[in-house]
């Protein structure tokens, strides 16, 4: 598992990477009421705006952490966006990406480095 400074977690699953946001981020955002996910098949570049999260407070963008293709999205969030608050590291995942350059994972933090970042 790797972590970004944008408070995403990246969990390898075979040759795919599952992406979501951390509990810290979900808490900071407050109650999430809507998640706009990308379309399956979309080719994204690292740092493209790929997900929009609407909480009771504001809209926030999530950036693609890697170059690659979106191969699956968490359709369950359409009816239950609160899953991101309730289980951000599990049921609240956003999408699975097939990276075109898996070495980009090395740019990101370990869990301990991330925990140090959020203090």
């Amino acid at each position: 598992m790797k972590y970004t400074e944008e408070h995403e977690w990246l969990n390898p699953e075979g040759d795919l990477i599952v992406v979501g946001i951390t509990e810290h981020a979900a808490t900071q955002l407050g109650d999430i009421v809507f998640v706009e996910l990308p379309e399956v098949g979309t080719e994204v570049s690292k740092e493209d705006e790929v997900v929009v999260i609407e909480s009771v407070k504001a809209a926030s963008d999530i950036l693609a952490p890697l170059d690659g293709e979106i191969v699956e999205v968490n359709e369950a969030l359409a009816d239950n966006p609160g899953a991101v608050n309730d289980d951000p590291m599990g049921e609240g995942w956003f999408f699975k990406i097939k990276p075109s350059d898996a070495s980009q994972m090395e740019d990101y933090m370990s869990e301990q480095e991330y925990l140090d970042l959020i203090g």
């Binding site: 109650d31 009421v33 809507f34 609407e54 009771v56 809209a59």
Partner: protein, 373 residues
Amino acid sequence: MSDLEELPLAALHRELGAKMVPFAGYEMPVQYTAGVMKEHLHTREAAGLFDVSHMGQVILRGADYATIAAAFETLVPVDAIGLKEGRQRYGFFTNEAGGILDDLMFANRGDHLFVVVNAACKAADIAHMTANLPGIKVEEITGRSLLALQGPAAEAALAKLAPEVADMKFMDVRDVTLAGVTCWVSRSGYTGEDGYEISVPDAQAEELARALLADESVLPIGLGARDSLRLEAGLCLYGHDIDETTSPIEAGLIWAIQKARRAGGAREGGFPGAERILREIAEGPARKRVGLRPEGRAPMREGVALFADADSTETIGTITSGAFGPTLGAPMSMGYVPADMAAPGTALSGELRGKRAPLTVDSLPFVPANFKR
């Protein structure tokens, strides 16, 4: 943080787990540990306690109430003279262009008129009244907190401390002894729910707040839920849904202008901007504030541009408030549209993050009010 004013109850808010944010020059609780969604729902289902001590409390004094009210009427298009003792009304200061300088609540308190104004406007409001109410003493009340207790369980919770509040009707005002001290209580609020607003001396504010919070039906509620509650109730937020450019008629506040101040009334006109306001009452305004329901779950917030349809390039209006309505279970917005597009059911289009999305004009309030008339 040194330029922010601290509420008298700031320590209590922190003890209750509040997240404090700057708002209108004050450090205010935006939410507590329950979070905005739960706080909102709790207020609709039971009762919520809000600290709104940032708002301005002003007393106007003069020879008698009729004298004060006659002077006050020169600044507001509202029937103040006809307001009975012990009653409160909604109103607004207008400018010469017929726009709104601030909205407010005022009460006939027998020998004086009591006004509650918005925090961000209070210095300007006090200057406005001081400059334009000759012979009237304008007294800013400092040293008193303002607490709002809102929700269907508000009456039972407050009546435990003072049984007589159960006899008050919506918009009644009364002196009530709470925490051993005289409080100025009105049966009103800003949530669409039954409830009370309580002006309490700072020295007793914490004791009163703790006594109310000791009731298991009462939770502390922050500004976040206050905003979604008022939006579901279709209530305007000054500086967003109404401002110096919007007339009360465009804003759908004609109900607050009693017959006495309209054309043919006993005291027709005689307030700033009367020409535009009376003309718009007669002819109808060019644009109107409406409720809007975006399709799907994505909120359309303040600033979103509105179009007649998905392909139109001409902006026809703008959203002035928008959020997700926890009780409504859907996003909701308010905004201004041309009068011929203001009928409930009218399909419009809004531009959200560069994409067009459909929304429909809906009647206000989004959630029915629950007042004790």
